[in-house]
Amino acid sequence: MKTLDELRKIREKSQQKITLGESNNRVKIVVGMGTSGIALGAREVMKAIIEEVAIRNLTDVIVTQTGEKGLSSMEPVVDVIEDGKPTITYGNITPEKARKIIAEHIVNGKIVNDFIVTMLN
């Protein structure tokens, strides 16, 4: 049970979390886990990302899920969010592609052009 004040505090706090503001996380990876995404392998993609992050011991990376953006033909979809940089949305991701994104984009800071669906400031 929360009071209205507590609710407002949660609102402020989580607002910052989404933009990575105060947290120690450098990168947020978001996997689209709607029915279409899952139907085309989002669960496997999510698994691969979590594994890869663990193997590489990337402590400043947080992995979460979201629903569908609506571009069914590009599922599974993965967002990479970094503070101060455009949010990159990758599409048609497979576990292999996901590992490549971690290796190139997350670790080396090189955006994987071939998989990009859109880039948003």
Binding site: T35, S36, I38, A39, L40, G70, L71, S72, S73, E75
Partner: protein, 151 residues
């Protein structure tokens, strides 16, 4: 026999549809048996004929034993446009069944269904609770092989 399911619900008719879902899901042959109908009828104090009427109205239920895995291929216009008929042909061929039938090994029952709401990835089908999209003849063959391997 079904007490564990029944006791989760208050004995009111409004719970009938959920109860029937649970009973069907708990049955290895994916159907609602006569014994179950009898027990539900007594628990909810609802006539047998009412339960049978409900069971046969909704397409997700079966009053006959089915396979372990229910394949429900969408045949609605968006999937039809994207070639669901060919997928159906392929499924019938590799499973060696007609629509509504269960494979000899009891692993699959092939059914058709109305729109599953994944039309952006048509043609689509559901196997049990999992949705599969952008189906091709090759892809369904692989899906069937994979599930058979797990069976």
């Amino acid at each position: 026999m079904y007490e564990d399911i029944l006791k989760k619900y208050s004995p009111e008719k409004e719970n009938l549809i959920s109860i029937l879902h649970d009973i069907q899901n708990s049955d290895p042959q994916n159907y609602v048996s006569e014994e179950a109908v009898q027990e539900v009828s007594e628990y909810l104090n609802v006539p047998l004929s009412h339960i049978h009427g409900v069971l046969t109205f909704y397409t997700m239920y079966s009053t006959k034993p089915r396979g372990k895995n229910i394949i429900r291929l969408c045949e609605s216009p968006p999937c039809f446009l994207k070639g669901s008929e060919n997928i159906l042909k392929k499924l019938c061929e590799i499973l060696n069944v007609e629509v509504g039938e269960t494979t000899e090994d009891g692993i699959f029952t092939l059914e058709l269904c109305a729109c599953l709401g994944v039309c952006g990835n048509a043609p689509a089908m559901m196997i049990n609770e999992d949705v599969y999209g952008n189906l091709t003849e090759k892809k369904v063959e692989q899906i069937i092989i994979d599930i058979k391997g797990r069976a």
